[in-house]
Amino acid sequence: MHRFANPARFMRVSAPIVPWLAAMTAAFLLVGLVLGFRAPPDYQQGDTVRIMFIHVPAAWMAMATYSVVAAASAAALIWRHPLAEIAAQEAAPLGAAFTAVCLVSGSLWGAPTWGTWWVWDARLTSVLVLFFLYLGYIALSHAFDDPTRGSRAASVLALVGWINIPIIKFSVDWWNSLHQPASVLRLGGSTIDASILVPLLIMAVAFTLLFVLLLLLRMRAALLERKIRALQMVEAEATASSYALAGR
């Protein structure tokens, strides 16, 4: 564990990975989109099923990212792992982004298929709550003058939220089943056809690669920024003490 805790080592290891990741991400996105748009339209939903190639991977990433934030927060709190704290902080906005994509694309998918722009369906509602959990995390981590205090508090919040997510999901499912007539959204018939499944999985991989790429870039930037702040502090102290010595 402590082998990976060294920021310098992280910078060295991640440097060559980034361009490779970028290329892979672009490749998967391209292939996924091409296959997605070449797939035949669904017999029920027509071409709108193509929104699924954006909506479903975004939903998966929205949820997976929260697990990343929670796991990193746990590592930060339990082991004081320095990289973990940075990983959690940098991953959260990405999670919020995927959540937003999921909500917007879900709404646009619902409009022609369900006939309305917003439906309090269990999944969309849970994602909306998840969006606010992300926003709360981000707000809390920036709410203190001392950034360390902010990220520590946010770590606790992430774990509290992580425990709550299954409870929230369960209660929203329950609530939704009480208030909605049983409407089942069938994805292209009784089973997902390969022509839909393959692009979907490729896009899921593409989104995952994109997440890792962006996370690495953001973490690298964050580490550089910390170094910059540290250097600036050293300089400020040196200047202050030289003024003191000069008796000004």
Binding site: P112, L224, I228
Partner: protein
């Protein structure tokens, strides 16, 4: 050109499909550009600071 306009029309659902893709592209694109710009800016600042010290 017919095939292209058919493609763009997306069976009549163009008003929903293209904005969805646009939103995804814009949101994720923003974060991508932001990540790259932030990293490059940090690199430049660090290089400047280290050059000043030497």
């Amino acid at each position: 050109m017919d095939a292209l306009s058919d493609f763009l029309a997306m069976g009549g659902y163009a008003a929903y499909i293209w904005p969805a893709y646009a939103a995804a592209f814009l949101i994720l694109g923003f974060f991508t550009v932001n990540a790259v710009m932030r990293y490059r800016a940090a690199q430049r600042s660090l290089a400047r600071l280290q050059a000043d010290r030497t």
